[in-house]
Chain length 212, copies 2
Amino acid sequence: MAERSENGRKNDPEQTKEDILLVATQEFSTHGLAGARVDSIAEKTRTSKRMIYYYFGSKEGLYLAVLEQSYRKIRSLESDLHLSNLEPEEALRTLISTTFDHDEANPDFVRLVSIENIHHAAHMLRSEAIRDLNVSVIETIAGILERGFDHGIFRRKADPIDIHMMISAFCFFRVSNRYTFGTIFRRNLSDGDTIERHRGMIADAVVSYLKS
Amino acid sequence: MAERSENGRKNDPEQTKEDILLVATQEFSTHGLAGARVDSIAEKTRTSKRMIYYYFGSKEGLYLAVLEQSYRKIRSLESDLHLSNLEPEEALRTLISTTFDHDEANPDFVRLVSIENIHHAAHMLRSEAIRDLNVSVIETIAGILERGFDHGIFRRKADPIDIHMMISAFCFFRVSNRYTFGTIFRRNLSDGDTIERHRGMIADAVVSYLKS
DNA sequence: CAAAATGTACTAACTAGTTCGTATGTCAAG
DNA sequence: CTTGACATACGAACTAGTTAGTACATTTTG
C-alpha cells in the first residue's frame, strides 16, 4: 500500500482525477460554467490547479468531463429495472418512480443539464458518449405502451418520446425550479410529504392520460 | 419632438433605459449572469457602459432589473383571461393554452428563470415585486377546481399549487430543455406539428388526471 | 445657470492558462 | 536486490489578457 512520504506527496493519478471531478461537479453545478472558478476548484481539491490542466486541458475540458461522468452514472440505473416482466401499468409506474427518485436524489445532475441548456447544449453536441445513452429508455417505454395498448389497458396510442418528455418534465422541473417555485409559493419541494404526493401525482397523471 | 443635435447626442433617459434592458435581457439569457459581459452589452446598445452604471448601479443591479421586467410582462396576460365565465374544463384548457403559448413565445424569460434557479433564486428573494405576481394564478386555478368538483366534472380534489406546477413543468421544460432534449432525441421541439400536439397533450393529461 | 444625462479614457482586481523545476514510480541492467 | 534512467505525476509562482467599475470632462435640458 502506498504511503505518504515526508512532504505528504504520493502519486495516485486515478484518485487525483476523481477528486478533481467531484469538486468540479459541485462548483459547476452551483455557479454555472462561466461562474465557476478554476482557482476555487483547485483550492478545494487536495491537489493543485496545475493538475486540472494536466488532466483536463482546459476549463471547458473539465466541464465536459463532469458532464459526461454525470450522464454515465445514470445509464446503469434504468437498464437494471427488468420492466418487461411487469404488467404494463405497473412497469410504467415503476419507471416513473425511478426517474422521480433519480432527479430528486441528483440535484447536481439536474443543474448541470440546466446549465448545458443555457449554452444551447453546445458541449453535449461535441460528446459522442452522451447522445447514445438515453435511447434505451425510449425503447423501454415503447414496449410498455405497446403491450398496454394490446391488453386494452391503455386506450390511447401515444408517442414514447412524448411520454418520456411528460415524465421527465415533471420530475426535472420539481428539482430544477425548486428555488424560484419555492420562493414564489412559499413551498418547500424537498419536504417529505410533498415528495410522496408528487411521486404519486405524476404517475396517476400519465396513467390516466393513457387510459383516457 | 426631440431632434439629434450636430454631434448626434440627444437626452432621452426612458429610451436609454429601455434600450439597455432590451440588450441586457438578450445577453443575460444567452450567457447567464456570470457569462454576460457588461462591455458586450454596452457595445450593442446605442449608448455607453457609463449609462449602465448610471442607471443600474452594477451588473447585478442590471440583472435584477431585467428579471423584474420579465416577470412584470407576464402579470397582465393571465389577469386578462376572464376565466370565471367559462365552463371549468374549458377554463382550465384555456389557462393551459395560455401558459403553453407564453413559454413558447418567451424563451428569454424561461432561460432567465433557469439562470435564477442556478443562483438559488437569490436575487428574486431580494425583490419584493416578483414574489407577489404569481399569486393570482393560484386563485384562478383554485376557483376552477372548486367549480369543477361541485359540478361533478372533476372527481379528484387536487391542490391548486400542485396543478399549477404540473402545467408549468410541462410548458417550461419543453422550452428550458429544448436543446439537450433535442440533441438526445434528434427532435425539434419548436416544430409546428410538435407544438400543436404537445399543447393538446398537456391539457388532456391534466384534465384526465382531474377526472380520474 | 443648475441639474440631469452622457461620452472617453482609465484602473485595480481577477482569472484562465503556463513556465519551470521537483518528486515519484517503474523497469531494465548490473 | 540495488542502481539509475526515464516517464509520469505533481507544486509554486508567474503572466497576459480580461472585466467590472470609476474619474473626469462635456453636453443637454428645463
